[in-house]
Symmetry: C2
Subunit: 394 residues, 2 copies
């Protein structure tokens, strides 16, 4: 069965996380992603743990379904090979510092002449234009300067970084949206185009209502732990063997929680007799609930609260997720066969489409595994490939 | 200038955040998003703050560039109107509980007969299939059961919810990827299709290398605050008037930081003389750096560290972001003119494309503002519209 992007070729010179995450989405959707890596060393993420037999699980997670070629873009002959690759490509993805592609003679203006249908997508910390464009960024910088960190954490502690590289990943997911939109637009007008995605813009774009809270009411939103600004109880509570979320969005649910806790006097306590009072006194309220939850296991709390129709959810740790029957059934845990590591379980593709299967066709490539086959596809003779290899262009 | 999705019509019956965020991306890309709201009450998010003149800034943020009609999908006649709307639509987006559309006689199988080119996209907490499919979810449940919460927070405190509704927003961004891919695929095969997006899947898909750390090395990743598992110093530090990120990825940068701190003895201290030692002793290291940063302002730290080529970034709060010259220049803060509230500044569109301008054409609609015009577009006579209104179908 073909996939949504079958027949689309992406030349991907991006490295580390944000670009590879974007091209992973495109590869999972069926695009032929040709990952261009530095000869000998490859993508820096090949050195990021965890490892099996010296191979990076980090790299494997984000580069499944792709092919790898080596090519030295810093050398003139490498740049010529690159231009040949671009001739028939649909998408170029890069996440170098602003100006790097220009410096190598691979500017959008030049590549557009070679291939006017090319979609040239860049992801950088702060975008191609604007006063911060040349500023170096990494994930934590985007989270900090994009405002997300100021909203995450407990009020009595410093701001916190989200426990995944959301600055990178979120920009990658927005970038694939842009590339897909450009592919669709090209069906209408026959033209490629330039795309400029900034990690900083993308974090700023996911701050929910924080911006209008300031622009409309001049409140400066800040950290409120795991609570809700206007609903109580709504928090993470500590069980004897883990943590659960409990939330009561209305009076009836609150009364059922009190029944479950065998604290039927609480709904009449004037500190807790309406949502507004409970929000004001949420610290005391949370202490009362925590005193109860601490006496029970996560499984016991789930059972009791579900019986009482009170919203409850366990805070799941990674080991339990890997065994989760729901994620397994939804093909969100996929076993791939890696040539050097054997069978490895990696996260699956969350884009579930009727006509574009969510299959992971192959594990991440070895460095340069597809150099010969890809160069042959664009018409290079074996002698030329051998010449390029001997001259360390590949 | 046309946009990437000019000419595409989305019938959007989704409410609250995850669906509206998805259709906001499509609307920003130029789709005609017709938001179908419950008569009289509208989208529940119209009751979420902040407010100006009784109008919700929450709703305004996610519903700009859309049109609003009212329609009661619970009534037979409303369902008939809905089927008429679907005839010419390209995309249907919904985020009701699993089975709700079927219950209303608006199943995919039925709508596909009316319009075989229809892309029918659902976003739910746990997806359409799998053992948890019927389980009720909201943002914090997706963050908790998807594993993100177990990774976010300080090690000595309970897990933390990210300070934005990432469970909703992230699924919305993945859903727009799926819809764009389906639109592209339809250009090739002429067929619509079913899309099934789960908030839980989508959170699980952004956990970076957490899954392979468990499946390859049997480590259970957990909360590490804002630090880095294998780089030190790398953290949030407290200035006299705010917070900064400081990171040293190599020895040279670490030595320059020590010079900036006038602590040139530290690189020779055996607790700190290599990255591995610094990681092991990161708590002591962070205390030393915090003792220095506490004596300086954020601006002073930025200046000194930039002069010494040490990566530094301020943790920006929402008020400073709204004044940020870079975000302003990149059109990430957009003033819209709302009929009841006047000029309001909302966040812009982070998808920057050469041939699809990132403009916000209009503010969010009033409830049912476009009911008459949209029903006229599908051929309804004024008398029929009046009849439907009197019978409280609209």
């Amino acid at each position: 069965m073909s996939k949504a992007l079958s027949g689309i070729r992406v030349i991907d010179v991006s490295r580390l996380l944000t670009g590879p995450y974007c091209s992973m989405i495109l590869a999972d959707l069926g695009a032929d992603v040709v990952k261009v890596e530095v000869p000998e060393r490859g993508d820096d993420s090949r050195t990021f743990g965890p490892f099996i037999n010296g191979e990076s699980g980090y790299y494997m997670t984000f580069n499944r379904n792709k092919r790898s070629i080596t090519l030295d873009l810093r050398k003139n002959e490498g740049q010529q090979v690159f231009c040949d690759l671009i001739k028939d490509a649909d998408v170029l993805l890069e996440n170098f510092a602003v100006g790097t592609m220009d410096k190598w003679g691979l500017s959008y203006e030049k590549l557009k002449e070679i291939n006017p249908r090319l979609i040239f997508a860049s992801i950088t910390g702060f975008g191609q234009v604007g006063p911060y464009a040349k500023r170096v960024a990494f994930d934590a910088v985007a989270q900090a300067m994009g405002g997300l960190m100021s909203l995450t954490g407990d009020p009595d502690r410093p701001p916190l970084r989200v426990g995944t590289s959301l600055g990178d990943i979120n920009a990658g997911i927005f970038a694939s949206n842009a590339i897909l939109a450009a592919l669709f637009q090209r069906e209408k007008n026959g033209r490629g185009q330039r795309i400029d995605i900034s990690m900083h813009d993308c974090i700023f774009a996911i701050l929910e209502n924080a911006i209008v809270r300031f622009t409309m009411e001049h409140n400066i939103p800040t950290r409120i732990g795991s609570g809700h600004p206007s609903v109580a109880p709504y928090n993470v509570f500590t069980a004897s063997d883990g943590y659960v979320i409990i939330a009561c969005a209305n009076e009836a649910t609150w009364q059922r929680l009190c029944q479950a806790m065998k604290r039927t006097e609480l709904p009449n306590d004037k500190r807790f007799n309406c949502n507004q009072q409970r929000s004001i006194n949420s610290k005391q309220l949370d202490e009362i609930i925590n005193a109860w939850t601490a006496t029970l296991t996560v499984a016991e709390l789930e059972l009791i609260l579900q019986q009482n129709s009170v919203p409850v959810a366990p805070v799941l740790s990674i080991d339990s997720l890997v065994a989760d029957p729901h994620l397994r059934e939804r093909n969100m845990l996929v076993e791939v066969d890696h040539p050097l590591c054997g069978k490895i379980t990696i996260p699956g593709n969350p884009i579930k489409m009727e006509l574009s299967p969510d299959t992971i066709e192959c594990s991440a490539p070895l460095l340069g595994q597809h150099t010969d086959v890809v160069l042959k596809e664009i018409g290079y003779a074996p002698a030329k490939i051998e010449y390029l290899r001997q001259n360390k262009i590949l």
